[in-house]
Symmetry: C2
DNA sequence: GGTGTTATGGACCTATCGTTCCCGAACGCC
DNA sequence: GGCGTTCGGGAACGATAGGTCCATAACACC
């Protein structure tokens, strides 16, 4: 029994996400956000408390929409080596076909770098993000072990390595998509995963 | 024939570097910098033009002093597999012994993440930094090839992979040094480099 | 249609931002 | 010791930052 919101929360989160993604947190002003979302300051503050709250919401949206999409294959319960290689192939394909988007890097990775040292909550979000990759790679590697596709016993170290590679790739992409570089990384990962295979 | 500077430029750069390293560029105010360096605003502006100029100088100092130190082994003209593994061992050792320092990550990596998309000059600095790793790894791998320690022909892809790992490790360290994680990465790299060795 | 509740727009607040300026102090040089 | 030049401290600048407030509008419910 009240006046309903005139805006789509999804649209607002999408635009706020995009703004933070391009400029970073500190460099983004409230005015940037009102312009991007079309909302007034009061609506923004009513809905998200403050700038930091909007970042949190945007990060949540990013993790659900964007990361969920990128990881849809790798996070399948039956994922294996193909899905691992497939993920890096997707990365290379994005670098090739959407360089402008790829040049944004990863919003969560950027946020870890910018706020990870001074903002514990941001760091926690980052940890969850990193664990998500670690878990997905680990699960896929254990599936591959179980199926005898891979020499067993190294899943943990290998998933650490793959996770670290993903983060590094996002840093390399930031502001300089360099499709050839990403292709080289993907090639190296493919060779790496091949070297894990049982003969 | 003029009044000489009363401050040590090295000291100023060291303190400015530290401040940018902890807080990031945008979150660092001029007051933070005057407090950290002990200089007044006017001295700071006279010496470095503006905040951005001071960042550039601090990045240069960082690359000379810090990165130079970390890479002193790997950049030796005769470096090989040992120096590659040694570099990652050093990383793990720092994580273990100086977690607070390791938790800062890497100033240049942080700057790429924060400014890489919006500040072309910062991105160039980042590119040079990344190329420095790539070149060092590549040189070491080619030395190893030449000595027959390693199966030849993959130096480029392998140095891309190692470089990307370093950047990823710095992101993982930021705000959360996690020595065990860094040890796992180092272990995985050791196994990886072993797998490159000729039988 | 009145009532209670929330949404919205925009003016407004204070604090702080990066930067400039001025003036006295401190030195090298003749 | 006076001159030329740079340094350095601090006040001051306009701009903009994040955030608040209030009056009005728009709905749901009875």
């Amino acid at each position: 029994m009240a006046r309903p919101r005139a805006f789509s929360e999804e649209h607002v989160l999408d635009q706020a996400m995009e703004t933070f993604w391009v400029k970073g947190y500190e460099a983004t002003s409230i005015e940037d956000l009102t312009e991007a979302t079309g909302l007034s300051r009061s609506s923004l503050y009513q809905a998200f408390d403050n700038k930091r709250g909007l970042l949190d919401a945007a990060l949540g949206y990013y993790n659900t929409e964007r990361v969920g999409y990128m990881l849809s294959g790798l996070e399948g319960t039956d994922a294996g080596l193909d899905e691992i290689v497939g993920f890096f192939n997707t990365l290379a394909a994005v670098a090739e076909e959407y360089p402008e988007r790829f040049a944004l890097g990863c919003l969560t990775t950027n946020t870890i770098a910018e706020l990870g040292k001074t903002d514990p909550a941001a760091r926690s979000t980052g940890d969850e993000y990193i664990n998500r990759y670690r878990r997905a790679f680990d699960m896929a590697l254990r599936n591959a072990e179980r199926r005898g596709e891979v020499t067993p016993g190294n899943a943990e170290a290998r998933s650490e390595l793959l996770t670290t590679l993903v983060l590094g790739a996002f840093i390399r992409a930031r502001g300089n998509p360099d499709p050839k570089g990403q292709l080289a990384i993907t090639g190296a990962v493919t060779a790496l995963v091949d070297s894990w295979k049982t003969l």
